[in-house]
Amino acid sequence: MSKRKKGFRFAIRGRHFTLGFPFLWLTLFFALPFAIVLKISFSTAAIAIPPYEPTFTYADQLLNVALNLGNYLLLLDDALYYTAYLGSLKIAVVSTLGCLLLGYPMAYAIARAPVKMQTVLLLLIMLPSWTSFLIRVYAWMGLLADTGLINNVLLWLGAIDEPLKILNTNIAVYIGIVYAYLPFMVLPLYANLVKMDMSLLEAAADLGSRSINTFWNITLPLSKGGVIAGSMLVFIPSVGEFVIPELLGGPDSLMIGKVLWQEFFNNRDWPVASALAIVMLGLLIIPITLFHHYQARDLEKEA
């Protein structure tokens, strides 16, 4: 009896610990940091360590809260930030479409392949995304450079007379993002397409629908969840991308992740960098919620 009681008490404590420990860890190292970013985005930059003025000061029984809206107004005022946000969104949208156009047929082909081949093909898709991201972006530098392999081959074939300028342009950034994020598009699409009820497609074929018609009217609408999940997995991180525009892009491929990095490390303007991060998060709230919504729905369906 007493052993049982002890076990019961232990179970209660164990449950609390299992929930409490990761909860506290994530509150401390994930949620709280965002609150601090929000706070610093309202403070004034100063030449000090750390380089900003305190938001809350307490003296003579008077709590002073100094909220500086200047950082946000600066984002509106200075064309640099405005251009960077628009540039990021444009690059992310175009790259996401590129991933979708290439990734959808790939996922479709894998889902229709023999079951044994499917696991091998999936491994082939996943492997590159697990090898170093930085190295894979670096590999493209040697390919796209003016004296790089692609230009050399084209010159040798006589297709062009002088090297094409690809490295340090937006084209290179598109190639880099599509290349780096393609697996994130293919995997959710595959997971969706492989679960599709084939009898619907057979019924359509029996009723005389042509395969293109069947695709547009049945397959594509049914895979909407996969398209949205994949697109969000590509779109969200590419908006904040830093490594790809820094290595492959030129001075005109202004992206917000790069600007944030420069404000923080080169200009040491922490408040403006924080404001940039908050606005970026604001822009991403809708895609992030959309992603979570479709993820949660998928999980519920499985359960």
């Binding site: 076990g7 164990g14 994530l26 290439l102 991201f133 997995l233 924080s274």
Partner: protein, 272 residues
């Protein structure tokens, strides 16, 4: 001959697109010429140069140490979170934990990095800890974002698991802790291994978050690679990149293998 469909052609083109740059990089790492793009004969001299570079060797060691410790912590955190997500009743705490643990999966790295750095600066200001940023702060940062991946891998395994075995053990008088270590852990061990290896390779690869969380005391390998790559393409980096690709592919393949074996075993057990 079977007619090739449009999607199959795209699949092969996509796979060539994914693999060609890496194979070309590996090929050029054996180039004797100093110019990266001109072929000057076969040579392994850049590998020899690489092993003479003390800065790179130090960075490799730092990265391995951080990756090992981060992966271990991430498995502990991620498994606990996965357990809460699959076994606990619906409550606000469970809901906010599952939201918080999956958030780092989609968060842009610059935001995660910036926010963690600001946290460490604040903590140092308020309680004097951490006194300086370095291995410890990178470890904290990496454990947090890798835990998200572990939670996904482990929770999908826990969801498939037959709960009646655990219930039987508890009915026979085993404490929950004993049940967990003697019954649950062996059953999810391949998922834990896969999660550990995945975290290890993620931590080894991370540049952005490590750059924010680190101080003058600790430089990881991606940070060294990035600062030299910024200056242009160099044959020594080609050699280093080749070794990284081979090492990480091996880890990735192992983690896939363990996850796969677990699936097969589970299927075999269900069929019995």
């Amino acid at each position: 001959m079977k007619k090739l469909s449009f999607s199959t052609v795209m699949l092969w083109l996509g796979l060539i697109f994914l693999y060609a740059p890496m194979f070309i990089l590996i090929f050029y790492s054996f180039n004797a010429s100093k110019l990266v793009t001109v072929w000057g004969g076969f040579s392994a001299k850049w590998y020899v140069e690489l092993f003479k570079d003390q800065q790179i060797l130090d960075a490799v060691w730092t990265s391995l140490e951080i990756a090992f410790l981060s992966a271990s912590m991430a498995v502990v955190l991620g498994t606990m979170a996965a357990f809460v997500m699959t076994r606990f009743r619906r409550s606000w705490a469970k809901l906010s934990l599952s939201n918080m643990i999956t958030a780092p999966l989609v968060m842009p790295e610059v935001i995660t990095g910036l926010s963690l750095l600001l946290l460490f600066v604040h903590m140092a200001d308020l309680i004097g800890w951490p006194a300086e940023r370095g291995r410890l702060t990178i470890w904290l940062a990496h454990s947090t974002f890798c835990a998200a991946y572990v939670a996904v891998v482990v929770s999908s395994r826990l969801r498939e698991l037959d709960m009646s075995i655990e219930e039987a053990a508890m009915d026979l008088g085993a404490t929950p802790l004993k049940t967990f270590f003697l019954i649950t852990v062996p059953m999810i061990a391949p998922a834990l291994t896969a999660g550990w290896l995945l975290s290890f390779s993620l931590s080894l690869d991370d540049l952005v978050i490590a750059s924010f969380a680190s101080g003058p005391g600790a430089t990881t390998l991606p940070m060294v690679v990035f600062s030299s790559v910024r200056l242009g393409v160099s044959p020594k980096i080609n050699a280093l990149a080749t070794l990284i690709i081979l090492a990480v592919s091996l880890i990735a393949f192992l983690s896939w293998y363990f996850a796969r074996r677990a699936e097969k075993r589970a299927k075999a057990a269900m069929e019995q």
